[in-house]
C-alpha cells in the first residue's frame, strides 16, 4: 500500500476535512483531531498494515511560533514488512488534556503513554495502569512542560530527608 492509498483510505472513511496530510523531508505526516485518534489508528493498523508503534510522545507548544494548540502528541507508526513509516499527529489542550489510550491496539504504548502522562500530564483514558513512571509518585508538577523551569521549582524541599535509622 503506497502513501497515497493510505491517505485515500483515511479520507474515504473519515472525510477529507478530518485528515490533514503534510510532508517534511522523508516524514509523511497526517494531522487529525483528537476525537478520531483511536478510530484512525485502528484503521491504520487493521487495514493499512501499520502493525508497529515505533514511538509515542508529546511536546508542549506553549512558546512555539504560530502554534494554536498547547500539546501535540505524535504516534510514529511503521510497517514491519515494507518498512514504511507514518507519523500521526494530534493536538490536545488545557485544562484537561485527554486522549484515548491505544494500549488495546499496541501493548507497547503502555510505558510510552505513562511517560507522556508523567512529563506533560496528558491523561490517556482506558490505560490499565496510568502511574508516573520516571518521576517519584509524590511529584506534583509535569517537568517537561514549557512553563516548568529547567532548574525545578524547589520540589526537593517537599521530600523529607530519611535518616539511615528510619529507612
Amino acid at each position: 500500500m503506497t502513501h497515497d492509498e493510505v491517505l485515500k483510505l483515511l479520507r474515504d472513511r473519515f472525510g477529507a476535512d478530518a485528515i490533514t496530510p503534510s510532508q517534511f523531508r522523508d516524514n509523511q505526516r497526517v494531522t487529525i483531531p483528537a476525537e478520531y485518534v483511536l478510530a484512525v489508528l485502528e484503521t491504520l493498523k487493521r487495514d493499512a498494515g501499520f502493525d508497529f508503534l515505533s514511538d509515542l510522545s508529546a511536546a508542549d507548544y506553549l512558546h512555539y511560533p504560530n502554534a494554536r494548540d498547547r500539546f501535540g502528541v505524535w504516534y510514529v507508526l511503521a510497517n514491519t514488512i515494507t518498512g514504511m513509516r507514518l507519523v500521526v499527529k494530534t493536538w490536545v489542550n488545557d485544562p484537561d488534556p485527554t486522549l484515548p489510550s491505544v494500549y488495546a491496539l499496541w501493548n507497547g504504548a503502555d510505558w510510552m503513554e505513562r511517560e507522556v502522562y508523567d512529563m506533560y500530564g496528558i491523561v490517556f483514558e482506558g490505560h490499565p495502569d496510568l502511574r508516573r513512571v520516571l518521576m517519584p509518585d509524590e511529584y506534583t508538577a509535569f517537568p517537561l512542560r514549557k512553563d516548568y523551569p529547567m532548574r525545578g521549582k524547589g520540589e526537593r524541599h517537599n521530600f523529607a530527608v530519611i535518616t539511615r535509622a528510619e529507612s
Binding site: R25, P65, L134
Partner: protein, 407 residues
C-alpha cells in the same frame, strides 16, 4: 485515576495471598548492573508477578536537550547508552541532519558506519558477556572485555576520549582519522574472530548455559511486534526488521550484510542473534575500511553548519565571522520551523530522535525513543512463571541500560 504503588504490588486476583511473598530486587543489586528495581511476588521460587519500578537514574536529559544547542547536546546523548556511546551520537545527528537537510560527505558516511558497527560489537560484547557472567560463566566476560578494551582504544585514537568520545559534530566529525587508526581497525578486524571463537566455543554448546537460557523468557513473534520491541530482541523472535535495511541511512545502502534472525524468542536465541550480529558487523567494517573514500570529512564550510578550521578563524575575516555566527547563543543555526522523526539501528534496537525545530539553534523538543525503556516494559510478561534465578537471565538478555532507560 492514577493508581498507587500499593495497588500494583498486591498479588494477582484469584491467588491465595497466604503463601506468596514479596521480594525487593534492586535498585542496588549486582545482577541488575545498573540502578533499576523490581518488586517480585513469589510462590516459593516461582515468579507470580513482577512490577518494575524505574526512575532512579532520571536526570532530565530531554529537558536539557531543550536548552543545549545541537552540538552541545552530543555530550548528553553520549551518556544515554554509555555502553555504545557513538551509536547514540549517530542517531542524534542523523535526526538533526535530517531536520536541517544536510547531505554528509562520503568519507564521513563511511567513518560513521564503521563507528556504528564498532559500537554494535562494543555493546554486544558487554551484553553477551554480562549475560554469561550473571549465569556464572565468568571467563567469557573477560574474553569479551579484551575486545571492548580494543574498541575503547579505537575511540581514544580517533577522538581523544575513551568512554564518552563526543566524536560527532553537526555535518561531520570532530576530526578526521589518520592512517594509524585505519591500521588499528584492520588489526582489530583481523584478530577479533579468534577471541570471538573462544567465547562461542565456551558458551554456544555449554550445557549449563543452554539449560539456564533455552526456553526462558519466550517472546512470541506477534507479541514482539505488538509491544514495539526492536533490534536483537525482536529479531530473536522472528521479526525480520532492521532499520539499516528498511530505512537505510549512512553508507548502508552500498554495503552487503545479512539481517540475523532466530525464531524461538527465548534468552538463548537472543544471545545467539547478538553473537551472529557481531560477525556481520565485522564484515561491514571490513567492507567500509577497504572502500573508505578520501576527501573532506566535514560538509562544505560555505553551508554555514560546520565550524571553520583554526587557521581560517585566525587569518581570515570570513572565517572569524562564521565562527562567531555559529558560537554566539543568539545566532547559531537556521533551522526550519518543522519537526522530524529519524531513527537508526542502534545495538539495542531502534534508537530514534523526534526533533521539533523552532528556527533557533536549540531543539524545541528533543524526544528520544529509547530501546531499553521499551524493552524493560516487556520484562513482567517474560518472567512470569519462571524461577527467581531466571530473573537475571532475562534481564541480561534484554540488555537494559539504566541511563538510557531513565534518561
Amino acid at each position: 485515576m492514577p493508581l498507587q504503588l500499593a495497588d500494583v504490588i498486591a498479588p494477582p486476583e484469584g491467588i491465595d495471598q497466604e503463601y506468596l511473598w514479596t521480594l525487593n530486587f534492586g535498585p542496588q543489586h549486582p545482577a541488575t548492573h545498573t540502578t533499576l528495581r523490581l518488586i517480585l511476588t513469589l510462590d516459593g521460587e516461582t515468579v507470580v508477578k513482577a512490577v518494575p519500578d524505574i526512575g532512579y537514574l532520571h536526570s532530565g536529559f530531554e529537558k536539557l536537550g531543550e536548552h543545549l544547542d545541537y552540538n552541545q547536546y552530543v555530550t548528553i546523548v553520549d551518556r544515554m547508552n554509555y555502553v555504545s556511546p557513538v551509536a547514540n551520537e549517530i542517531a542524534w545527528f542523523h535526526s538533526v541532519e535530517t531536520l536541517l537537510g544536510i547531505e554528509l560527505t562520503p568519507r564521513c558516511k563511511y567513518l560513521r558506519t564503521i563507528f556504528a558497527e564498532l559500537m554494535r560489537i562494543h555493546d554486544h560484547c558487554l551484553s553477551c558477556g554480562a549475560a554469561a557472567l550473571d549465569l556464572g560463566a565468568l571467563t567469557a566476560f573477560f574474553y569479551l572485555f579484551v575486545e571492548r578494551e580494543k574498541i575503547y582504544d579505537l575511540s581514544e585514537a580517533a577522538s581523544g576520549q575513551r568512554f564518552h568520545p563526543s566524536y560527532l559534530r553537526l555535518g561531520g566529525l570532530l576530526r578526521d582519522v589518520d592512517d594509524h587508526w585505519v591500521d588499528m581497525v584492520r588489526s582489530f578486524v583481523k584478530n577479533f574472530p579468534k577471541n570471538y571463537g573462544d567465547v562461542a566455543r565456551l558458551l554456544n554448546r555449554n550445557r549449563i548455559f543452554i539449560e539456564r537460557t533455552r526456553g526462558i523468557g519466550i517472546l512470541p513473534k506477534d507479541e514482539a511486534i505488538n509491544t514495539s520491541s526492536s533490534g536483537p530482541v525482536a529479531r530473536a523472535s522472528g521479526v525480520v526488521r532492521d532499520v539499516r535495511r528498511d530505512n537505510p541511512y549512512l553508507a548502508y545502502p552500498e554495503l552487503d550484510f545479512k539481517v540475523v534472525c532466530a525464531t524461538t524468542g527465548d534468552c538463548y536465541s537472543r544471545y545467539l542473534v547478538r553473537m551472529e550480529e557481531m560477525l556481520e558487523s565485522i564484515k561491514i567494517i571490513e567492507q567500509c575500511i577497504e572502500r573508505l573514500p578520501p576527501g573532506p570529512v566535514n560538509v562544505d564550510v560555505d553551508s554555514k553548519v560546520v565550524l571553520p578550521n583554526q587557521t581560517s578563524v585566525y587569518r581570515s575575516i570570513e572565517g572569524l565571522i562564521q565562527h562567531f555566527e555559529l558560537i554566539m547563543s543568539n545566532r547559531r543555526w537556521q533551522t526550519p520551523v518543522d519537526e522530524v522523526y529519524a531513527a537508526t539501528e542502534a545495538p539495542n534496537g531502534e534508537l530514534g530522535f523526534y526533533i521539533v525545530g523552532d528556527g533557533s539553534g536549540v531543539a524545541y523538543r528533543a524526544r528520544t525513543r529509547p530501546p531499553s525503556f521499551i524493552h524493560f516494559a516487556l520484562f513482567p510478561r517474560l518472567i512470569v512463571g519462571h524461577q527467581i534465578s531466571d530473573v537475571v537471565a532475562v534481564l541480561g538478555s534484554l540488555n537494559i541500560i539504566a541511563a538510557e532507560l531513565d534518561r
